[in-house]
């Protein structure tokens, strides 16, 4: 059984059919790309997978469990984490606290312990610090833990967002244009990081990306969306040479 099974997913906003009859299967441990021209509905798919939008038709199952109708925070607890196209960090919190916030449901203590700083407060906070530091080291952010997230340069903000998502210990990680705004060096570095993350955390990755070098470089399988419908799917080499896909991107 596939880890993520999307069946005939569709959503309408008023009269606009943003996504229609989309079916996808992602196996455990896979690294899959979701591509397509601007406005094709890629981010809308992510928003449905994470519960931000409720699909009008179709089903989403993660390891056999239904995700449709669940709230975003419930879906996160079930094992789906994401990053955003326009970075959404907790900009006034420190880099460390951003990741610690991601550990919210992983390392827990009660409200009373929060208010009195008694009981397991110290022990759990230390455990959070250690876990967060470990993650930040993976992303080479270990030397900036005290900085406000908003003060980080763009590339590091993107990395921090991935680190925060990984803190929730997801089974499935959704990356929305992780390489947007990065120069070729940064993109190459990002590709390496994604590989490391996948191996080290055993996480399945679905990513939206426009950078074809990245997509063909690391993705094992691709889904191509156009006007909300599935245009093509398959291994990168075949998909990217598919004339229909080329036409969708470049026009006639």
């Amino acid at each position: 059984m596939a880890m993520l099974e999307v069946t005939e997913l569709g959503i309408s906003f008023g009269g606009l059919r943003a996504v229609d009859e989309l079916s996808m299967r992602i196996e455990k441990g896979g690294l899959v790309g979701l591509i397509g021209p601007n406005g094709a509905g890629k981010t809308t798919v992510f928003n449905m997978l994470t519960g931000v939008y409720r699909p009008t038709d179709g089903g989403i199952r993660l390891d056999g469990q239904n995700l449709v109708g669940k709230k975003p925070h419930e879906i996160c607890k079930m094992g789906v984490a994401r990053t955003f196209q326009n970075i959404r960090l907790f900009s006034n919190l420190s880099v460390l606290d951003n990741v610690k916030t991601g550990l919210h449901n992983e390392i827990t203590y009660s409200l009373a312990e929060s208010l009195f700083h008694l009981g397991s407060y110290r022990k759990k906070e230390r455990a959070m610090d250690e876990k967060a530091m470990e993650l930040l080291e993976v992303f080479d952010l270990g030397n900036v833990v005290d900085y406000r997230a908003a003060n980080l340069p763009y590339g590091k903000q993107r990395k921090l967002e991935i680190a925060r998502a990984l803190a929730t210990e997801p089974k499935l990680l959704l990356l929305d244009e992780p390489a947007a705004g990065m120069n070729p060096n940064e993109t190459a570095e990002l590709m390496e990081t994604i590989e490391i993350v996948r191996r080290r955390f055993g996480v399945t990755v679905l990513l939206i990306e426009h950078d074809m070098k990245l997509v063909s470089g690391i993705c094992e399988y691709l889904y191509v969306l156009n006007f909300g419908r599935l245009l093509a799917e398959g291994v990168p080499g075949a998909v990217l040479s598919n004339p229909e896909v080329v036409t969708a991107y470049l026009g006639e």
């Binding site: 925070h73 996160c76 449901n105 900036v144």
Partner: protein
Amino acid sequence: MLQKFKKYAVSRRGRDSLLCFGIVLIAYIAVQAAIAGGALSSQMKGLLVPICAYVVMAISLNLTVGILGELSLGHAGFMSVGAFAGIVATTALAETIPSAPLRLAAAMLVGGLCAAVAGVLVGVPVLRLKGDYLAIVTLAFGEIIKNIVNVIYIGMDGRGLHFSLVTQNFTLEEGGKMIISGPIGVSGVKTLSTFTSGVVLILITVFFVLNLINSRAGRAIMSVRDNKIAADSIGISVTRYKLLAFVISAAFAGMAGTLYAMNFSTVTAAKFDFNTSILILVFVVLGGLGNIWGSIIAAALLTLLPELLREVGDYRMLIYAILLIGMMLFNNSKLKRRLMEQRSLKQMEKLEQAADGKEGA
């Protein structure tokens, strides 16, 4: 040991708590010294408890506005609930708990609890809204609370407490007395609040609010402030933490209300109106959103200021207004922004240096 303390003092968290507790304790000692030396006028002495109550109000509102990031314009409503619940509690407990400080503490607990309940009742519908809409509805709820308290009649006699709304439809036995009589409010209550009890309440409030900020729950609340969608996406129940912050904030406002009410022999519902809510919001904004020690200083100074300006007579409110405008201009000035930018830049430079150092090595 010293090393450890130094490290604590530089960290943001350590700096905040040292500043908060330091300011309050130093002010307390200074005021006690001034009282002993006879340097305080009776007007100033009369202001001490209200200042403490306003400081607690400012800290608690800062939890909603600065930490949770939702504008509330009805905070005086919770103060009102706490004030009147506290008065009823002290009257009812007069014989059970003869010790005045203990009775005041019990009254504060009752006041805080009642305000927390009011916080849940108001918070559940209100927190579904966003931004300006939320602010306007909190304003409305503040007025609703004021108008309800305005028509409450509570009396006590040998048979227990009697309660009615709009008109007084109970008669008391001989020896019974009215505690709250509608728009006339409360009169003839024995005052229990002292400056020391006020300072203790401030310290307790600071302790809990700072602890909350530096905890799992506090981070969740601040993450909701910074980015609701992202907070939701990493598994934080936005509604839950919004309500939590709002209710804790209401509870402390209730305790401040009890403290405030137990300082006067007469209290009416009209005291806790929109103007009071705005006054407290001004303390919070001028002290800095999310800045607890800023709230303490702003609340204390701005409550003292009209009294200090009494000497200039008719120009008092004019100067008060000019000072307020001046502070607002400074908070939004190029000078301040440049100072902030410089701080950010310094951080960035350090960051780059660190990166260079790493590459060099």
